[in-house]
Symmetry: C2
Subunit: 428 residues, 2 copies
């Protein structure tokens, strides 16, 4: 059985188109930004039958760009390039690709008009160097940019495909979805379909022990765990032909994992914790108000990323001063004096206060020491209290976290949201 | 003059060691994570005279890993590898490198003891596959892992250096700082020093027009612009010998750029907008309170990333409901009925309300339509009002932004913080 599946896997791997993501930009090599474009593209391509085998990054240097593209064209069926389409002197992706593929750059009138209109729309003067962006390799498929000035393009030559996308993610992503996804969809007869199971409240090795036999017996789908900042993601990937229902392969495996890991599984659709909790609240019509001290509005800002959250999210108080805890939440000054701002007692009064004033179903509070300053022997950096108030009473949990200010704040957010999630699920 | 500088640049470029960051891990090629390790390493290496010319990512596949490493050794002096040092079957970086460099893997007793102690410390049973992590290539420099089980190592062969680091950033970063930085520091006699000028309130091409002669006349230092989400970063890089004061090369160029771009320059030390504004408020002792509607706590969460901000940041109200705008900020119900929650009038009352209740020096409010829902012909998605109240009165600015919910929120945050920054700077 396993052998049969392995053979199938190898056959499919050979028949799936393979791509390389080649990013151009010295800002990546200088560490100014992370290559999140490669991440985004890599996550999407398997959905349309394209496997990603390599990422590469090269600077704004024609010689090295040419060498990298030559190599990519040798080892990959498709090369997806990002960056270097801007108006400035060091943006040279189009020029270099055209030279290598022996294509002339010609003015694309429609793109020029679009660029001119873009500048009119934002009431800015178009400078001469923006005209350069309307020149595209002859015979290419032009991809419109509805979020900026640089158009993208697709070039086919000798059975290979080169795709050029702009660098800014806000321009790259919509262009990719509107053009590149349909392009490969029309070409491919195989696909890789992944589901991501997200788990919180169990360590990586403890989790692996629970499902080790499933991981080891894997063939199609395959299962791979990945751990970061207090949570674990399991990737379950099925390889199949285009019209086959991948979910039929995935569902039984995912069900088995869910059975083993219980309610530590918070999403089987690769939603992050705030999406999962936000959508849970919206779907159940459970309203929420927040009182955040050490997380400083981080929980509110994450929840409000979700469209439609205003239906259940009433308000948040970032009570960074004692004055605010007293005035906005009705915390007793004596509680603050006796137990301090970072204490179980204060957390409880904060949660009760926000519940009472906002009249929501749930009131959640967070108070803690995120560091690096402010810790004492008795109350060290990383000490955090999270309290949840509701009509049935109030519960408070103490955490002792480690790491940087950033890590402590992030892990606090995850724990706070998980408390809401478990409470709502227990209500049925 | 320009010619002379160019020659110097070429000479220095040749004498500076160049490195490639080669990451190993299918989780990167599947887009589960972004390659933040490459970003971290790339940001640090120039400080010790190592330039980064390439990033590559390859999966947990011995054949492709071998090919990528062969290429990297051909084109780079040093190859810095991350990932694939774990205990599981698909972790094969050490095995592949050793085979390629013709080194035996030998048991490193000290590492084995460290791994055994690590498991004792966390009260977990050590499994057999963890012993594999204590095998290292013969003759290598061992790098201890104080934050996990996998030791790293440095191998020198035929004038090239191969460095293997663990994948998890919390293990990679300290190991890199404690071992790799001193290793290159001892070797190099040249260095690249960069300063980053951050600019807001001017488009990329308009900015380039202002400083085009500087960019074109560049040699040492070089100047390169990079644009993202409404702001532009200029990288100014000097190449010099180890003991030379790079700032003497950088300072005059940075001064000239500042003179040309005026107060659109908000940092010459690569601080992002919230850092720059937060530190400005702390240094001047100017207190702030926030009333955020469409940004949902994003401004508060960014400002509270900064240690010590509690000295000036009093509170934030995430007034996601009209009820909260009335109760927490004292907005008049008639204003909301007549002009709506997204209006100049409401923004002004929100700012005045938060200023009055928190008794801070500044009260900033934000209200807008972040989308994708909620827009009308009269009030489209992207319409945002930002008001700033202070003892001298209140000012309100209207914005018409475009893009996704995420982009509109992020650009709103930048604009709101920039309003605070300009106000404070004008006060002298």
């Amino acid at each position: 059985m396993v052998l049969l599946f392995s053979v199938l896997t190898i056959v499919l791997e050979d028949m799936i188109m393979n791509a390389e993501v080649l990013a151009v930009g010295t800002e990546l090599l200088m560490g100014q930004i992370a290559n999140t474009n490669a991440q985004y593209i890599s996550k999407r391509l398997p959905d349309v039958g394209v496997g990603v085998y390599y990422h590469s990054v090269v600077g704004d240097n024609p010689k090295r760009l040419k060498e990298s593209l030559t190599l990519a064209l040798k080892r990959s069926d498709a090369v997806i390039m990002t960056g270097g389409l801007g108006p400035t002197q060091d943006d040279l992706t189009k020029e270099t690709v055209s030279e290598l593929l022996d294509k002339r750059l010609v003015l694309h009138e429609e793109s020029l008009k679009k660029i001119e209109n873009f500048f009119k729309g934002v009431h800015r003067t178009m400078t001469d160097n923006n005209v350069k962006q309307a020149y595209l390799p002859e015979g290419c498929i032009v991809m419109k940019n509805n979020n900026g000035t640089a158009p993208g393009c697709i070039i086919e030559k000798d059975g290979k495909t080169v795709i050029m996308l702009p660098g800014p993610p806000s321009e790259m992503r919509p262009m990719f979805e509107e053009n590149v996804i349909p392009y490969f969809e029309a070409k491919s007869s195989y696909k890789l379909v992944s589901r991501f199971i997200r788990v919180f409240g169990i360590g990586e090795s403890a989790m692996e022990t629970e499902i080790l036999d499933l991981i080891q017996g894997q063939a199609n789908p395959t299962i791979a765990p990945y751990a970061k900042e207090g949570e674990v993601t399991l990737r379950v990937t099925a390889k199949c032909v285009r019209d086959e229902d991948a979910q039929q392969l995935l569902d039984p495996v995912i069900e088995e994992i869910k059975k083993r890991l219980g309610n530590t599984v918070y999403s089987t659709e690769d939603k992050n914790m705030h999406q999962a909790v936000g959508e849970l609240l919206i779907s159940r019509g459970i309203s929420l108000a927040l009182a955040e001290s050490c997380t400083g509005g981080l929980i509110a800002s994450r929840l409000t990323e979700i469209p439609g959250i205003s239906r259940v999210f009433n308000r948040g108080i970032v009570c960074y001063s004692n004055q605010s805890k007293i005035e906005n939440l009705g915390v007793n000054i004596k509680t603050l004096e006796k137990h301090g701002a970072v204490s179980r007692e204060t957390a409880v009064e904060m949660a009760q206060g926000i519940l009472k004033t906002s009249k929501t179903d749930l009131g959640l509070s967070v108070t803690g020491i995120a560091g690096p300053e402010g810790g004492t022997a008795e109350k060290p950096v990383g000490l955090v209290y999270v309290a949840l108030a509701h009509s049935g009473g109030v519960e408070c949990k103490e955490f002792r976290l480690w790491g940087s200010r950033e890590r402590i704040r992030n892990v606090t957010v995850l724990n706070a949201l998980d408390i809401i999630r478990r409470h709502v699920l227990e209500q049925k």
